[in-house]
Amino acid sequence: MPTLKIDNQDITVEKGTTVIQAAEKLGFVIPRYCYHPGLSIAGNCRMCLVEVEKMPKLQISCHIQCADGMVVNTETERVKKTRQHVLEFLLVNHPLDCPVCDQSGECWLQDYYMEHGLYESRLDEPKVKKQKAVPIGPTVMLDSERCILCSRCVRFCDEITKTNEFGIFNRGDHSEIGLYPGKELNNKYSGNVVDICPVGALTDIDFRFKCRVWYLRKVDSVCNGCSRGCNITLEVNTERPQHGHGERVMRIKPRYQPEINQWWICDEGRYGYKPIDHGRILEPARRSSGPPEIISWEDAITETVSGFQRFSKRSKEIAILLSPQLSNESLYLAKKLFSEKLGLDQIYLLSPSLEGSQDDFLIQADKNPNRKGAEILGFSEKESRIQELMDLVSSGKLKGLYLFGQDLVSIFTHRNMSEALRKLEFLVFQGTNSNLTSKMCHLILPSASYAETEGTFTNFEGKVQKFSQALLPIGDSRADVEIICQLARKLDFDWPYFNTEDVASEMQKKVPAFQNILASAPAFQEPFEEKVSK
């Protein structure tokens, strides 16, 4: 365990720790471009040069390992002057097209210029021209002129996805990153190269020109795209609806979580935010025959309750279909209401989506964020149970069905599902987005999406994670927890819960598996994250 001195502070670190890491432990963030804690060391940007006593040359702190008795200075005149020159070198051929660059506002060239540059420009030579605005795959746009050749993207595709799309071509100041012949950047994690690109060389085609980054509000959340539960930041724009075609969620970024996703997320999760603003059910509605009729929440709750009262005593006639998309809190409360209070025994769990692809990195085949949570509460989706339910529906014995977002018509295409559903007397749909099945239901209760509410998900490994509310519920939609509470009150049950927090505190006491909520990791370990966010 070497002990060294960095800027006059002593620190003892594990053998093999680099100076840049040791400095971070002391709270000094040595400026860097090519260094990324999740990738191998390239040492090419030369921004992290520091002075080490007894070494004549400045040393790159990302590569030099701490040694006993080492004395490091990160802020001497020589270091500062060199940093300034490195920045100047990086900007020699940079086009300075910040006004039309999406990276503006979160660009490390801009930020470091303000922090370490601030020199008078003396550049008067023509710049090297390179290719601009090249779509290098379905999700990423390359601008070679803005590139500082830090090689983070190259290393990401070599080391993390092992798909090896990128190379560095040509030499000297004509060097460019690019794709190997016949390749396109189209792997399952392509979008991460945009996150790790410290400049505007790689921008997100999906986000391009939608909104200036300084208008974004960032909220910690957990991806609901699969059972991994990657930590994400929902970046939303609510104050300037003129930007981003009226959408509120502008983009999703990964949030560092060492125990789950490190620095990364998959593209499926990254671009999976569209349903938050599209295809939403906005108002409670009733349908008998003909088009649906918008009704008040009061009426919707009253009519739902009267349905329960019609069937609940003959409980075999009604079934509840819970979803592994629901939060632990919603499921806990649903169990309380449907099982304990109403005494129903036909409560099933049904995923609204089919199994998808899986890999050995982050992506899980189960596209639900909370199947484990549902299982802990006693709800499982076994083939036999689903068969039983389907038989029940098609037999005509079932009179009432309460769905939580599942599109039965699309899931069970091989059965004449619409025919069977039409026979039901009482079909309730509580969900976020409309689908073929919701269009057949007698009562439609619009619920808030995960971005519009709060709660916890339990990932497939049993890790419980909290997600926060980023947006107000769209239209007249309400959180699932709130809808269940209203139903319970209308049914005159003794019901001490008013919001998710009330449920959470009781649930955590009663269900040990939900007690340990995984702590959010400290801010993403990149220099500017802290300043931009919140």
Partner: protein
């Protein structure tokens, strides 16, 4: 004047094995296998104070002692024949006229370090040399100077020749290793050094062609004898590639420590009627010397002491017809073209500097240019992974400092003060 390597330059067909054998070829190897243990060879080479003649001047025996012997991995020898330093053409001569001398040197080094596989990375443009080397290897295998159980010693050695594709940077030893491994020639971060983690992740010794070619002489005579040929701590002779404005440009094998003045005289002196203006003493990367500095001894340490370097011993003589602005522009354009592009200061700096110099050459220089160039130059060197930027920095700063008035004239008068003289010469 004693000739060692260069004696073969004058012998017809010295590249053929029978001729080489006639002139004492492979005798050192035979002697070694019969009488010496590997550590004896290493000791002898240490005594010779043979320095790395590719440019860095690192002690050769010392290099061997850094190689870990018991890692369970093979040890490789990589021969740097990617002679690319402008002004240097000695290895071309060695391989053309004495490929077996190089192979014998390889054999000695391999035996001393315990190496059984050798890669010769040869400059792509060296077509004839590539053929001669392969031919020599074939001859050597046939006569059991290479291959299995060499000369009944029980020692095996395989030699593979690999052609470079024209990048200057692949002469940098770690870029060379990358290139040899089939990757883009990017110099590696150090540590680890190639002695510990080199080719294919294995311990690797890297030597220049010329360095290895002196080994047979050291074993035939002695390390002490070789050391005495040179100057203290700079053992033996070396091949100076003398080019430019001298009467007889060519290869001159001279002791390390020969005064530069003497070397120029040996090459016939500055061409008639002209005055010496500047000398690049050790390949294009070395700081330029003025006519008043030619008393310097041409060994590694003496040249370093006056702020230049021995480098690859590519000695470029410039007389008073040379425009230093143009010379520096051509130099910097070369480094800009050959920078691998990894490190920001080198990638951007070399190109930027050459564009400023181009503007100056074209008559659009500005008074601020000189100080800007000095400032840019001083932050290009010492801040990068490899020494290419240092090699660009040395000429840049030295030309500007030593010939500042010429640059100032160019900026002020928007033309070269030599133009009239130049036309006269032509």
């Amino acid at each position: 004047m004693e000739k060692l390597i260069s004696q073969f330059f004058d012998i017809p067909d010295a590249h053929l094995l029978p001729v080489y054998l006639e002139h004492g070829g492979y005798e050192a190897a035979k002697f070694m296998f019969q009488n010496l243990k590997p550590q004896d060879v290493e000791l002898e080479v240490k005594k010779s104070s043979l320095r790395g003649l590719g440019g860095a001047g690192f002690g050769s025996g010392m290099k061997w002692s850094f190689v870990p012997r018991n890692t369970g991995k093979p040890i490789y020898l990589t021969v740097n024949a990617d002679e690319g330093e402008p002004g240097t053409f000695k290895d071309r001569f060695v391989i053309t006229h004495a490929p077996h001398l190089l192979l014998e040197g390889i054999l000695i080094c391999a035996y001393a370090v315990g190496i059984h596989k050798v890669y010769i990375y040869i400059r792509g443009e060296y077509e004839i040399q590539f053929e001669r080397l392969n031919q020599a290897i074939q001859e050597a295998i046939e006569k059991n100077y290479l291959g299995k159980n060499i000369l009944a010693s029980g020692f095996d050695l395989e030699v593979i020749v690999h052609k470079g594709a024209g990048a200057y940077i692949c002469g940098e030893e770690t870029a060379l290793l990358e290139s040899l491994e089939g990757k883009k020639g990017f110099p590696r971060l150090k540590p680890p050094f190639p002695a510990a983690v080199g080719l294919f992740g294995c311990p690797t010794v890297i030597h220049n062609v010329e360095t290895l070619s002196y080994l047979p002489f050291i074993l035939k005579r002695s390390g002490e004898w070789f050391a005495k040929l040179g100057s203290p701590n700079n053992g033996g002779l070396r091949l100076f590639s003398v080019s430019g404005h001298v009467a007889n440009p060519g290869i001159y094998e001279r002791p390390l420590g020969i005064p530069l003045k003497q070397l120029i005289e040996d090459a016939g002196g500055v061409r008639s009627g002209r005055r010496l203006k500047a000398v690049v003493p050790g390949g294009l990367s070395a700081s330029v010397l003025t006519a008043s500095e030619i008393d310097v001894k041409m060994d590694f340490d003496s040249l370093r002491a006056i702020g230049s370097m021995g480098g690859s011993a590519g000695v470029i003589i410039m007389d008073d017809t040379a425009c230093m602005v143009k010379a520096l522009y051509v130099t910097m354009r070369f480094f800009g073209h050959e920078s691998c592009g990894q490190c920001s200061p080198c990638r951007e700096g070399t190109g930027w500097v050459s564009r400023i110099l181009k503007r100056m050459v074209d008559g659009h220089g500005r008074p601020s240019d000189i100080d800007n160039l000095l400032d840019i130059g001083s932050f290009m060197g010492g801040t990068t992974i490899c020494a290419l930027a240092d090699g660009a920095q040395m000429p840049l700063l030295s030309y500007l400092k030593k010939f500042r008035s010429e640059f100032e004239y160019h900026i002020k008068e928007k033309k070269c003060d030599l133009e009239i003289q130049m036309t006269e010469v032509r």
